[in-house]
């Protein structure tokens, strides 16, 4: 870790109980300036509770939270001045237009009307809502509403932005737009805390990831670091019309091969490490005159990491 990089958010021993249920269990985290920090975990893993505790919306049982080096409390308005929040659910007023909503929330941070006008214009441009400024939220599609939700959270140009599952129920086009926007905000200097249960999103935009399960942090690191946790570094699938046990045994005996199985005209080989596994397998098949169809090579995903650490899938199949 670079010692010159400032810690923006520090969570020490955070515990949050909902009655008998422990939603966050002794959580420790350091989020550095300029990071896109992903909180990844299945539903109910404690991501949103952690965010709400960080924002002092929720009281917590134990622990301490500091943001920008100061203890975060409900009355830390100097800290809040530099924080932007994009809630999981769209939090806007139905009685106000797109422009008015953005201006309203921006006015809670920026006094100067002229400056605010400029910031609102930039937020509208950033989220691509130029054609909808006079629309009321009820007239907007789900994707546009999400974009409005983002615009309301980032218009005042905060140094730290919380995105709590901003892409839930959003079409792929809007999702890409949102993710690009988040990366762009990060490039402009904002530190981002991003929660999601979509691992591909987290992989795409986060520089560092914490995987939560049952309120505990089960793994943390950059994507590649996390993938190293997984024993299976490569899964090779080869379409093979027929394969006898002798050939299968030869493949299993290869260095770096963890397991190999043949079923439904497909050979699946799990490998750990090594750089020429595919070539070695193909050579054996060629030597035995086994015809080969399509070949796939899969690298480990965050889901594999989660599976490795917890023994369960990161999210339900959709």
């Amino acid at each position: 870790m670079d010692n010159n990089v400032k810690t923006v958010v520090k969570i020490s021993g955070l515990v949050k109980h909902y009655g008998e249920l422990t939603a966050v269990d002794h959580l420790n985290m350091d989020i550095r300036e300029g990071e896109v920090y992903g909180l990844l975990g299945p539903n109910g893993s404690g991501k949103t509770t952690t965010i709400h505790c960080l924002l002092s919306l929720l009281s917590y049982t134990e622990g301490e939270i500091t943001i920008f080096g100061k203890k975060m409390t409900p009355k830390s308005y100097d800290i809040k001045q530099n924080i932007g929040v994009v809630m999981q659910n769209v939090a806007v007023f139905d009685q106000l237009t797109v422009y008015e909503n953005i201006d309203f929330f921006c006015s809670m941070y920026v006094k100067d009307r002229k400056k605010r006008k400029e910031l609102v214009r930039e937020a509208i441009e950033f989220t691509g809502l130029e054609d909808f400024v006079k629309f009321y939220p009820k007239k907007l599609s789900g994707g546009l509403l999400r974009r409005l939700n983002i615009a309301c959270g980032i218009a005042h140009k905060p140094r730290l932005i919380f995105f709590d599952e901003p892409t839930v129920a959003v079409d792929p086009q809007s999702r890409n737009k949102i993710l690009e926007g988040i990366q762009s905000l990060n490039k402009n200097g904002s530190t981002i805390i991003y929660t999601s249960h979509y691992m591909e999103e987290v992989e795409q935009i986060c520089t560092r990831i914490a995987i939560l399960d049952g309120g505990r942090k089960i793994a943390e690191g950059a994507t590649e670091e996390l993938k190293r946790i997984v024993k299976v570094t490569e899964t090779i699938e080869i379409e093979v019309p027929a394969l006898d046990d002798k050939v299968l045994s030869r493949i299993k005996a290869l260095e770096h091969v963890l397991s190999a199985k043949y079923a439904s005209h497909a050979l699946e080989v799990c490998c750990s490490g090594g750089s020429h596994n595919l070539m070695s397998i193909l050579e054996i098949l060629k030597g035995e005159n086994v015809p080969v169809g399509q070949v796939y090579s899969k690298l480990p995903t965050l889901n594999d990491v989660f599976l490795e650490v917890t023994g369960k899938q990161l999210r339900d199949k959709e």
Partner: protein, 375 residues
């Protein structure tokens, strides 16, 4: 920050359909309905001399003296026309008279339709028959006491004379309109609830966002309260103006004082709503239902639905009238209008102010929590 927030609150207030419905359209509609319903009744009850045809061939009948007595002077009850039966019937048919006294065989009263004025004519005839029969009885059984009996009857007649309690004659239905204004004021509670809900992160999504913002809850509550009071006060003033200028309801109070009473009433309504909104974790709709029910009960007890209710409450549970904001708002119009009691007016406004402060204080105490256990 504060001014901008205040302006947006005002804007949102006038874009909230529920609020506009209950605070502007409903009172205007109900006021118009009252006006139409009471117009005929009030006109009928306005006392004027009742034109009546008297058919009497026997010029020595005591009833003729009685009729002459009732039609004499400025306070005359009736305006008799002595005629024959045929002409009398024609006069009644063409509604030039309210009824016919036919003294040909006893005293009979003929009216075209039942009304308050027809009832008065019947009562007059009944009272004559009753008095005549009493005197005849006494004359037959105790002639020595006849003089005393006639004197007693004359005194009872005097005792039943009008005694003016108020310096100004009041339309008995105006009270309903005062109650209507009280209802508009108390419906401000619906808007008051919005202040509390909008500042509780566990009840509203925008509230959660604002709670993360750089503006303190205190500032937000004050700005929302000011905006809501301003708007609800304006709605009450519009309602008073509508009743006063378009429906011609006589408030008998200088307009600025009327408006002040309406604005103070609205402030109390908003404060009451704020307090209700700050209690518990029910949804905004549930809280609005509670506030509407409380407002309607207050208005019912102050006589919005049954005119005599306030009097009944005063007789049986007077404390209710002292603490019912509906009754106090009604008093602030009624006391100066009917009794010229400006001290009572001032006292009513002070009570409303005190009530508002209590509600606001209690509401702030309830909202003061710093963070939430659940969201």
């Amino acid at each position: 920050m504060f001014v901008s927030y205040l302006m947006y609150e005002i804007k949102m207030y006038f874009k909230t359909k529920d609020v506009l419905l209950w605070l502007l359209l409903f009172p205007v509609a109900l006021g118009t309905l009252f006006y139409l319903a009471f117009a005929n009744t009030w006109e009928e009850s306005l006392f004027t001399q009742l034109p009546v045809a008297v058919v009497c061939e026997d010029k020595t009948s005591y009833f003729l003296d009685f009729v002459e007595e009732l039609s004499a002077g400025e306070d005359a009850l009736i305006s008799p026309v002595f005629t024959d039966l045929e002409t009398a019937r024609l006069e009644l048919e063409e509604e030039r008279v309210v009824g016919i006294y036919d003294v040909s065989d006893g005293i009979s009263v003929t009216v075209k339709e039942n009304s308050i004025r027809a009832t008065i004519l019947k009562t007059i005839a009944d009272s004559f028959v009753h008095a005549e029969s009493t005197i005849k009885n006494i004359a037959e059984t105790s002639p020595m006491r006849l003089g005393a009996a006639i004197k007693a009857l004359a005194e009872s007649s005097t005792a039943a004379g009008e005694k003016v309690l108020s310096p100004k004659e009041s339309d008995p239905y105006t009270g309903y309109f005062y109650n209507l204004v009280a209802m508009v004021c108390l419906f401000g509670a619906i808007a008051g609830i919005h202040i509390a809900v909008q500042n509780q992160a566990n009840l509203s999504l925008p509230a959660a966002r604002m709670e993360c913002g750089a503006m303190s809850k205190e500032k937000r509550v004050i700005a929302s309260y000011l905006a809501t009071c301003l708007c609800s006060g304006l709605c009450s003033i519009i309602s008073v103006s509508y009743l006063c200028f378009l429906l011609g309801v006589d408030f008998s109070l200088s307009l600025p004082l009327c408006y002040l009473a309406a604005a103070m009433g609205a402030n109390t309504g908003v404060a009451m709503g704020f307090f209700v909104g700050a209690i518990g974790k029910f949804s905004e709709k549930t809280k609005c239902g509670i506030a509407t029910a409380v407002s309607l009960i207050c208005c019912f007890l102050s006589g919005l639905m049954v005119g005599e209710m306030k009097g009944w409450v005063e007789k049986h549970i007077p404390i209710i009238n002292r603490i019912n904001p509906g009754a106090i708002i009604t008093d602030s119009f009624y006391l100066p209008a009917v009794f010229r009691d400006y001290f009572g007016y001032g006292l009513a406004l002070c009570k409303l102010l005190l009530m508002s402060l209590l509600f606001i204080f209690a509401g702030i105490i309830l909202l003061r929590r710093k963070s939430y256990e659940y969201i």
